[in-house]
């Protein structure tokens, strides 16, 4: 008797039957997409390679923001700080110490993690809006430090790196970083670790009572969400060969990653990727065709997404049963 009950799931039956075929199709699509990404630089011109590179940058940023804010529920409104730390680490190591660019990237990532650990311990005790404001304030602190510590960061003049032919190398590095970030998010979303983060997001006191060491897990999530922005920040600095404080610690980049994650569906592994791809392409198109409208349209777009699609595209898919409802969602 009991066995039969287990064997006949009522509502999920059609979903479960379609699952193997769907999984195979998804794997095929993923493999094709990966192939297309790998071949991309040999098919198109330099501008199009850069276009995809900056798209990948946003995949990394939105996915990383999602780890602390989507999975764990602590809204970081200054996540660009880690990106900026990575940028400055790479630029300073390359120019002052003459390191090759690929060696600076891990250092950039780990410095971002170190900063996350340093500020996370006190700041992650703050709840809700206070955490968001403190992150925003700390980002401004870093911006002003970068602006005034002229001997190290060049102040407002910024740092110019020696010229290099870097279009293809940064593209592949960016692709690798994006793939690793998404893989990390996927692994978190399908692990006990991710479940614990979700428990913290839903009710921190209850999670604590159920035996989740919340302080430690919040710290882990925060540090994980800082690493890849640091790495991609370094990579973007090398790609642009020039950085300065105002465009590196730029609030709009934080808002970009948040909006992208929201558009795709925060709290899902794939949402930020979809959101980044769509929003970045749309932004570039509007910027290209109607530049004066670009930011006004973007502002209106943010408001519309937040009001009418708070669960994002993945939420839309889940409601229709096209994607299995993960435990994390």
């Amino acid at each position: 008797m009991s066995r039969r009950v287990l064997e006949v799931p009522a509502a999920g039956a059609s979903l479960a039957e379609g699952l193997p075929a769907r999984k195979a199709a998804l794997r095929l699509a993923a493999a094709l997409a990966l192939l297309a990404f790998l071949l991309w630089p040999s098919l198109v011109n330099v501008y199009q390679v850069s276009f995809v590179f900056f798209g990948l940058q946003y995949v990394v940023l939105a996915s990383s923001w999602n780890v602390i804010s989507g999975f764990t529920g602590y809204v970081s409104f200054g996540h660009v700080a880690f990106f900026g730390i990575g940028s400055y680490t790479t630029a300073i190591l390359m120019v002052k110490l003459g390191w090759p660019w690929y060696l600076t990237l891990p250092v950039a990532g780990f410095l971002a993690v170190a900063w996350a650990a340093f500020i996370g311990f006190p700041c992650l005790r703050l709840k809700g809006p206070y955490f968001a404001i403190s992150m925003m304030g700390l980002n401004e602190v870093l911006r002003v430090v970068a602006l005034s510590w002229e001997s190290l960061t060049g102040g407002g003049l910024g740092i110019t790196m020696p010229n290099a032919e870097n279009s293809v190398s940064t593209y592949y590095a960016g692709l690798a970083v994006a793939a690793l970030t998404v893989a990390m998010c996927y692994a978190i979303a399908h692990s006990r670790f991710g479940l614990r983060l979700a428990a913290i997001r839903e009710d921190e006191t209850a999670a604590e009572a159920m035996g989740v060491p919340t302080t430690r897990y919040k710290m882990y999530a925060f540090m994980l969400s800082a690493f890849w922005p640091g790495v991609i920040g370094g990579l973007v600095a090398y790609k642009l060969l020039y950085i300065e404080p105002d465009s590196t610690f730029f609030v709009a980049i934080t808002v970009n990653m948040i909006t992208m994650a929201m558009l795709g569906g925060k709290g899902t592994a794939l949402g930020p990727v979809i959101g980044a791809a769509i929003l970045y392409t749309a932004q570039e198109l509007v910027w290209w065709y109607i530049p004066w409208l670009h930011l006004i349209a973007y502002g209106a777009f943010i408001i519309l997404i937040v009001l009418f699609m708070p669960r994002g595209i993945m939420g839309f898919f889940i409601d229709r049963g096209w994607v299995a409802k993960g435990v994390i969602q």
């Binding site: 804010s69 809204v75 409104f77 340093f118 311990f121 006190p122 700041c123 703050l126 709840k127 809700g128 809006p129 206070y130 968001a132 404001i133 403190s134 925003m136 304030g137 700390l138 401004e140 602190v141 002003v144 430090v145 602006l147 005034s148 604590e208 060491p213 302080t215 430690r216 808002v255 948040i258 909006t259 929201m262 004066w292 670009h294 930011l295 006004i296 973007y298 502002g299 209106a300 777009f301 943010i302 408001i303 937040v306 009001l307 708070p310």
Partner: protein, 349 residues
């Protein structure tokens, strides 16, 4: 069972804090000594008084701006990132009034003496405040009302989108050039102090507006309803207060206060569509300093920040950047050490 934080974590923080203070002192000892000598020569009684009073005048302006923010924050639990842009709208309204609407011949009327200068600002306020009040109510009704009481990220993003729209609309209309309005120049001399007329006007108007807001909240029925909603919106609703209408009015008041701040900025400094960014984080620092939703706290915090900034920019040679840092550091420090603010804010739910 809450985990105990291991001792070594605190030890690391202590070491970093000590290192952060001592290392620059040791490395830059000569510079530090030089700075001390320079600061000592600058610090005469008269000049310090001058800095103090100017700081207080500036702080009055900060208080008005922060009061609008703390009102919205306290009643609706919304972080209004677009507050600086509401301020910018006020500044441009004053600009339109003084340069486009007001005939050239009447300019001299408003620069004749202090009384007329205040009257000029008063006229602008009379025209602008109802408009911005309505504007704020419209914003609340259209985009913020559905998300009050939801997760904090939503209003944060909505108001950010709003600020993008406002900034770029104003850039398309007025370009991103610096603007200034023709206003009374010169200084009022009181004893050994010289205070610029625009600053004095700004402080007088700020004081009047602040007093008005206090009186309104303390004595009027509507003000009491606003305070009740801030304390506990559910109980307020049970008591027969139309909470949604209170939200509507609160956002209108907050917007109008920001616009008042903008008008007062416009008579002192030149401005541009992105000027809001200068004031928004300072306002956050002030309301965290004073206590969230605490109006007296906004006043104290505003004046404190004005005075601190004044002293920093006077005594330190590269003061302007350090001055910015003061607000941000104060913000983060207060959040970590005493998140309820100096005077205590409304309780967290």
């Amino acid at each position: 069972m809450v985990e105990r934080t291991p001792r070594w974590v605190y030890a690391i923080y202590l070491a970093i804090a000590l290192g952060g203070v001592c290392l620059p002192l040791v490395l830059g000892w000569e510079g530090f000594v030089g700075w001390l000598a320079q600061a000592r020569s600058l610090a005469t009684f008269d000049s310090l008084m001058q800095v103090l009073v100017s700081g207080i005048l500036q702080g009055g302006l900060y208080a008005v701006i922060a009061m609008g923010l703390t009102m919205i924050f306290g009643v609706m639990r919304i972080i209004n990132v677009a507050h600086g842009e509401f301020l910018m709208v006020g500044a441009y309204m004053a600009f339109v009034f003084f340069t486009l609407l007001l005939p050239e011949e009447l300019h001299s009327l408003f620069t004749a003496n202090l009384g007329m200068a205040i009257l000029g600002v008063g006229v602008v306020l009379l025209i602008c405040l109802p408009l911005t009040f309505l504007f704020g109510m419209g914003v609340q009704r259209l985009v913020l009302n559905p998300v009050v009481g939801g997760p904090e990220l939503t209003p944060l993003l909505i108001t950010f989108g709003l600020s993008l729209i406002l900034i770029n609309t104003f850039i398309s209309i007025f370009t991103s050039d610096f603007r200034a309005i023709p206003y009374m120049s010169g200084a009022l001399v009181v004893g050994n102090l010289a205070l610029g007329y625009p600053q004095v006007v700004s402080f007088i108007v700020s004081a009047a507006v602040t007093g008005g807001v206090f009186g309104f909240l303390k004595f009027s029925r509507l003000g009491k309803a606003v305070r009740a909603t801030a304390q506990n919106s559910e109980v307020a609703m049970v008591c027969g207060i139309n909470v949604e209408r209170i939200y509507l009015y609160t956002f209108g008041f907050g917007t109008a206060l920001a616009a008042t701040g903008g008008i007062l900025v416009s008579i002192q400094l030149s401005f541009f569509p992105e000027i809001g960014g200068i004031y928004i984080l300072r306002s956050f620092a002030i309301i965290i300093l004073g206590g969230r939703g605490n109006y007296l706290g906004a006043l104290v915090g505003g004046i404190l920040l004005g005075v601190i900034e004044g002293f920093i920019s006077y005594l330190v040679s590269q003061g302007s950047q350090l001055q910015e840092l003061a607000a941000y550091t104060l913000l983060v420090f207060m959040l970590l050490v005493r998140p309820q603010g100096l005077l205590g804010g409304i309780a967290d739910e």
